[in-house]
Amino acid sequence: MSAVKKSLVVEQLRRNQMIELLAQGKRMDGRGLLDYRAIKIETGIIPKASGSAKVTIGDTQVIAGVKVETGTPFPDTPDQGLLIVNAELLPLSSPYAEPGPPDEGVIELARVVDRGIRESQMIDVSQLVIKEGEKVYAVFADVSILNTDGNLFDTTSYAVVAALLSAKYTKYEMVDGKLRPTEVKEALPLRTIPVSVTIAKIGDSIVVDPTDEEEAVMDARLTLTTDSNGNICAGQKGEPGTFSFDQMLSGADTSRMKGQEIRNLLKEATGYTG
């Protein structure tokens, strides 16, 4: 999923240069180690969707659209609505993205974003039931990645969260055993705002919000999601490097701190005050 094609020698040189710079607390683009790039959140850009948002972090651009449809609950959770998160790395997003079914990296991305929302219990799925065991609302959150420049995990996550925060869906009623749409439009039953924070380990340094260039040389990635109360509700380490025990624990602190800042941006952009 990287937009920077790896060449053995060039990669090594760039990595050494970057590690040297990071040791001095500096990044290629001038940011501090724990600074995000500019985050821009726009909602309502796809009027046909129940909710939508475009999120830009640096040059990474993502659109999420939420459709609320009706469906059948899973047999083992007859009293819960459905949430389905799906992401696609569009071939127009980078010279290295290919058309076709999602590869393991995109599957991981969608599943990690999904878990951040699901495990935080952001949506009260018990309120998305039309008739228990038969008909429930199905919330589809689809993400189209338009341009990649690193940190797809957070960009995608914020886009889905912003789309959910701003969504309005049509209520249905059961009449004579058949579903009928009503005139009522409602916001989704929400309880918290999960925010993911992704850190990258490059050499011995830890940075947040890695660019594509940084991801190309990073050792390992850690995404931690916190809820509005500062609890950690989802996590995922990625890439074939390691974190020390201390790095894991201080990563948790970072995710809480940066998460709160970004949560405020999401509230501002969506007008959500819950």
Binding site: P47, L146, N147
Partner: protein, 245 residues
């Protein structure tokens, strides 16, 4: 509840006259990674076109010794339609990808780029009637933005039939409840048709009128394409993708 497609004053359900285009907005250079890109709003259509290339061909045996291979992928985001669309390419998307490619190919100077590929990717973020014409218009601008040599821009617009009346540029409602749709693309400086499709019953007379309407619409789209390119390369204003309403 049926929509009045054409009222007694000759106005359409959205207030347009029979020969009136929907609002069109084109922006050039909206994606950072692509070699060229364009964003178009055509009525409620919201479409991004991106061009990558000329670039190496993989696998190599697909390359042509004397010219570039032009490839095209028209794709709809799952949230672009009234009911969620499965993200896997449908037969409809595969056919549209093909006819868009064939509509663009006559204008691109492929022989200037032997042994390479030029990829045109289209993402329909929100769909309305006429998305293939809007896609062609955007693709053509994105190819220009990528600096690909072309002998003309390709412009596109559909005519159609509602209430037994030939009209220009159907939107979704008219496409669904109307009785004919005829997308057309052409090279305006060569007066050559590069895309033509027709669904719906037209008498001989209606066919001629629809053809003439569509050509006229194409020319107006051509002006908008030129203006967008001028604005990027000679004018001012930052590209954005905000809702125009």
């Amino acid at each position: 509840m049926t929509t009045v497609l054409l009222d007694d004053r000759g106005l359409r359900h959205d207030g347009r006259r029979v020969d009136e285009l929907r609002p069109v907005k084109i922006e050039v250079g909206v994606l950072k990674n692509a070699n060229g890109s364009a964003y178009i709003e055509f009525g409620k259509n919201k479409i991004i076109a991106a061009v990558y290339g000329p670039k190496e061909v993989h696998p190599k045996h697909m390359a042509l010794p004397d010219r570039a291979v032009l490839r095209c992928r028209y794709h709809m985001s799952p949230f672009s339609t009234d009911t969620r669309k499965n993200p896997a390419p449908s037969r409809r998307e595969i056919e549209i990808s093909k006819v868009i490619r064939e509509a663009l190919e006559p204008a691109v100077l492929l022989y200037d780029y032997p042994r390479t590929a030029i990829d045109v990717f289209l993402e329909v973020l929100q769909s309305d009637g006429g998305s293939r014409c809007a896609s062609i218009a955007a693709s053509s601008v994105a190819l220009a933005d990528a600096g690909i040599n072309m002998k003309d821009l390709v412009c596109a617009c559909a005519a159609g039939k509602i209430a037994d009346q030939v009209v220009l540029d159907l939107d979704d409602v008219e496409d669904k409840e109307g009785s004919g749709d005829m997308p057309l693309a052409m090279m305006p400086n060569f007066e050559q048709v590069t895309l033509f499709q027709l669904d719906g019953i037209l008498s001989s007379q209606q066919f001629k009128q629809a053809f003439s309407f569509a050509l006229d619409g194409c020319k107006r789209v051509y002006q908008l394409q030129k203006e967008a390119l001028m604005k990027k390369y000679f004018g001012q204003g930052e590209p954005s993708m905000e809702e125009s309403e």
